[in-house]
């Protein structure tokens, strides 16, 4: 009898310890590798921010470095400077970096914020999303919106394109929603796992970032004088006033300059894009030698901070598109190594000074020249402070502005030139160039690059207006895509660039 009890006990205990649990059949989830919908949002925010900046924005600016004449390559007729080869075949990759590497993280953040009752993460997802969509549409015009990646849906085989106008409406909607969500209660804090590398969980700073982006995008509409999206200077000023209030608010990601490639500023000597910024451009360097356009000896104190000295001494930029002869190389200022291009240089998404220049422009356009002048000077001061220029030089600079510009002489040109200098390495500059039609009255000394692709841009006033869609997209989604013929795409203005 006793034996039977032992048998029964043994069988029962084996059965009860090895019985299948309910989730035994749930074989479609990985236990070891985190998934898009499985890893909580506090572990995703850092990747979402970093990929917005380090992949999407890096590609965004890399393709236009020559277009906006910040940099010049050592080879003549380089594609982004003379608007040929890669630009005419859609062989550059902001498109895929935005859609494949940056936007999906923001879609996940929005989803995870809802799933985890943590709307703050949805808000951050929306702000970053607005930022990426804006940067992308500003280069291409019509883009894919709702058919991009969504964690709850199947991958779309043939995503639809929507007009830039619709994208802009969405950008404003995302930003408004984000501001509201930042006011809600969130079960998980943004910085609970030290992932909020922009603002360490400071909700007010995130809100100011949202308003700053809103100001930037409202201010893109300067060519619209009628209709639903007519330029509204007051709305721009209002958004700017709710935006950044000091350099403390600047949106930037930092690099450590360590061994790993992704710990280095991409445009630094050890960064991924080190060879994409061979030299500073002649246009940029000359502008810094006479930032107030006075033909005087006043050199901008930022020149030696941003631009490395040439081996043979002095500061000399390379004419964009012209290239550099090897035996002349030491006469020019190389691209790697300045304030923005050293291994530990941060990448700026948006700064306080940009917000002040936006405000200055809006006030100037609305007739409030006094207000514009104040905002303009604050913007200059903020950028000088950002670059750690000594206080007395700042005072000197601002005094100089009062002397040679003054409220009475303020023009859009001064605002745009200072914004151009302050927005070094920001793709936003290309928007400004197009908004003023590459005018050399706005940007003194600006001229078409050397070796311009004259088959597409035959006339002296023909400039690059938009980018071609990536060839991968054309191969696989040509039916939904607007005309991607380089002759049309590169010369056709995007929606905000058309006066109406």
């Amino acid at each position: 009898m006793k034996k039977i009890y032992i048998y029964i006990f043994t069988i029962v205990s084996i059965l009860s310890t090895t019985a299948c649990s309910d989730d035994y059949f749930d074989v479609n989830s990985s236990e070891t590798q985190p998934t898009n919908t499985g890893l909580p949002p506090q572990y995703r925010i850092e990747g979402a921010i970093e990929n917005t900046v380090a992949t999407a924005q890096y590609r965004g600016v890399r393709e236009v470095l020559g277009v906006v004449q910040y940099g010049s390559q050592n080879t003549a007729a380089y594609y982004s400077e003379s608007w040929n080869t890669f630009l005419t075949t859609g062989s550059y990759f902001l498109w895929q970096n935005a859609y494949v590497y940056a936007l999906p993280n923001t879609a996940d953040l929005i989803y995870l914020g809802n799933e985890y009752n943590s709307p703050h993460f949805s808000a951050v997802g929306k702000i970053l999303r607005a930022y990426i969509l804006g940067m992308t549409t500003d280069q291409y015009g019509s883009i894919v919106l709702d058919d991009s990646y969504d964690p709850t849906e199947t991958i779309e085989l043939e995503p639809d394109f929507v007009s830039q106008e619709v994208v802009y409406e969405r950008i404003f909607q995302l930003l408004d929603e984000a501001v509201n969500e930042l006011d809600e209660e969130s079960e998980i804090g943004l910085n609970d796992e030290d992932g909020d590398i922009l603002y360490n969980g400071d909700l007010d700073q995130w809100k100011r970032f949202a308003y700053s982006i809103k100001a930037r995008y409202l201010n893109h509409l300067t060519k619209k004088s009628s209709g639903e999206h007519a330029y509204d200077a007051q709305a721009v000023i209002e958004a700017a006033e709710k935006g950044f209030t000091s350099n403390q608010d600047n949106a930037l990601i930092e690099y450590g300059g360590g061994e790993a490639s992704n710990d280095n500023q991409p445009f630094s000597v050890s960064g991924y894009g080190s060879t994409r910024f061979d030299y500073f451009s002649e246009f940029f360097v000359e502008l810094l030698k006479d930032p107030l356009n006075t033909n005087s000896e006043f050199v901008d104190p930022r020149l030696p901070v941003i631009v490395p000295e040439a081996v043979n001494g002095g500061y000399q930029g390379v004419r964009t598109g012209a290239g550099v002869d090897a035996d002349e190389a030491d006469n020019y200022s190389i691209g790697n190594g300045g304030f923005y291009t050293s291994p530990d240089s941060p990448t700026y998404m948006m700064t306080y000074s940009e917000v002040k220049f936006i405000e200055a422009e809006a006030r100037f356009r609305s007739g409030d020249v006094a207000g514009a002048y104040t905002a303009y000077k604050t913007g200059v001061e903020a950028d000088l402070e950002k670059l750690n220029i000594p206080a007395e030089e700042i005072t000197n600079y601002l005094g100089r502005i009062d002397e040679v510009v003054g409220e009475s002489e303020l023009e859009l040109s001064q605002i745009f030139v200072q914004k151009y200098i302050a927005n070094m390495l920001n793709p936003e500059t290309w928007v400004d160039f197009r908004r003023v039609d590459y005018s050399d009255e706005i940007y003194p000394g600006l001229q078409r690059p050397e070796n311009v692709n004259v088959s597409i841009f035959p006339n002296d006033d023909d400039w690059l207006r938009a980018m071609m869609y990536e060839y991968n997209e054309e191969d696989r989604n040509y039916e939904n895509m607007p005309n991607n013929d380089p002759y049309e795409r590169l010369t056709t203005r995007v929606w905000w660039d058309i006066e109406e």
């Binding site: 890096y58 085989l157 710990d263």
Partner: protein, 394 residues
């Protein structure tokens, strides 16, 4: 003739089956990665590659088969035939190329429908009665199969089998809507309405990507004939395979042409330059000079049409002669049985195929999708060889 002559066995059979196939493991979710490239963050991020499909559904295959098994003359002649038809619906297609704006480059989607139909026949014949000393058995194994792609997701008209790339990507295996599951797509020279080559600014014929409608890498039919002859202690058996009506893509030759090693590239001009016969886009005769090397590397080796070949073949798969030692002799050595055999494999192949082996399947069975049969991309041929065998039983 006895009453045993004539039909000695008959079996009819019919089957219907519905088989479901679940999504591959991990196909519903997207996996995250860190440091996915030299720019990306070290924190967890959507990696752009292991992208799942949360709405993926199982696929189902309905298959119907009808057949009979019949034997005659005391089982000396047997015929086993089956006819089959199967249709896979909502097929799970992996590695479908999607535009980057979708959030990745390759996705797993439902949506394909593929029909497979065919005939299989097995004929056995024992040519001599069992009591004869000389025996000759023959088996004919006949097969015909057709795989057609009826539907593909969205507006796709072809599905790449993305692993079956060939040298310089001149062609790749593809499942073609309204055509074969074992189709081919690749570069083809552009011609005008008069059939003249269109020459680009570089002086070389322009190429476009096309689906080769008439290429089917699956044979029209296959027949395997096995013979087994026995006389006293000797036994001879051999298998002849006939495989007819399939095309192969000879990417090996394209590679050889690219490197100037193919026979075709011996056709060179005395001064090393040539003007390709053709017209420019406006219809004017081409006058741009190119070097022979540019021609073979930039055009000839890239034009997939140059390397599509009929890969029908007949092959002696193996032949074996064996001798069984007599038991008298073996008893003395305390051995139960002993056999000496010589086998030759792939001794000869009759084919028009110019490559090394018409049967090559470069990527083997491991490839996803419909596989790489008929893609000869620098693969290794079947080996020819001899085996010598000595077998004892104690």
């Amino acid at each position: 003739m006895t009453s045993d002559d004539g039909l000695s066995y008959l079996k009819l059979r019919a089957t219907w089956a519905k088989v479901g196939k679940d999504a591959p493991i991990g196909a519903l979710e997207s996996f995250l990665g860190t440091n996915i490239n030299a720019l990306a963050s070290s924190a967890y991020t959507y990696n752009g590659v292991d992208i799942g499909n949360p709405e993926l559904e199982p696929e189902f295959t309905n298959s119907y088969e009808f057949g009979f098994d019949t034997r005659f003359f005391k089982n000396r002649l047997g015929l086993d035939m089956s006819f089959y038809y199967s249709k896979s619906e909502n097929q799970i297609l992996e590695d479908i190329r999607v535009p980057p704006s979708a959030g990745t480059f390759y996705a797993t989607l439902n949506g394909g429908s593929i029909v497979n139909k065919g005939i299989e026949a097995l004929l056995n014949a024992k040519i001599f009665p069992r009591n004869r000393e000389f025996q000759w058995d023959m088996t004919f194994n006949f097969g015909m199969n057709q795989s057609d792609v009826k539907e593909l997701p969205g507006q796709l008209n072809e599905v790449y089998l993305s692993d079956s790339w060939t040298f310089q990507n001149s062609a790749a295996g593809a499942a073609i809507l309204g055509g074969s599951l074992f189709g081919l797509r690749g570069y083809k020279a552009v011609r005008n309405d008069d059939g003249q080559l269109i020459i680009g600014a570089d002086g070389l014929p322009e190429l476009e990507t096309v689906v080769f409608e008439d290429v089917n890498r699956l044979p029209d039919w296959t027949l395997g004939i096995t013979n087994n002859l026995a006389y006293k202690n000797f036994n001879l058996s051999f298998l002849i395979d006939l495989v007819q009506g399939q095309e192969a893509y000879n990417a090996t030759k394209s590679a050889l042409a690219y490197y100037g090693l193919a026979e075709e590239t011996l056709d060179r001009s005395p001064d090393g330059t040539m003007i390709v016969d053709g017209v420019d886009a406006a219809g004017n005769p081409n006058t741009t000079e190119v070097t022979d090397q540019q021609y073979y590397q930039g055009y000839y080796s890239q034009d997939a049409e140059n390397f599509i070949e009929d890969a029908s073949f007949a092959r002696l798969r193996y032949a074996t002669i064996s001798y069984n030692f007599s038991s008298d002799f073996l008893d003395r050595l305390n051995i139960a049985s002993a056999q000496l055999s010589v086998t030759g494999r792939n001794l000869f192949t009759i084919t028009d195929y110019s490559g090394v082996d018409p049967e090559v399947n470069t990527y083997g069975a491991g490839i996803q999708g419909a596989g790489s049969m008929g893609i000869d991309n620098l693969g290794t041929p079947n080996t020819r060889g001899f085996d010598l065998g000595l077998r004892f039983k104690f």
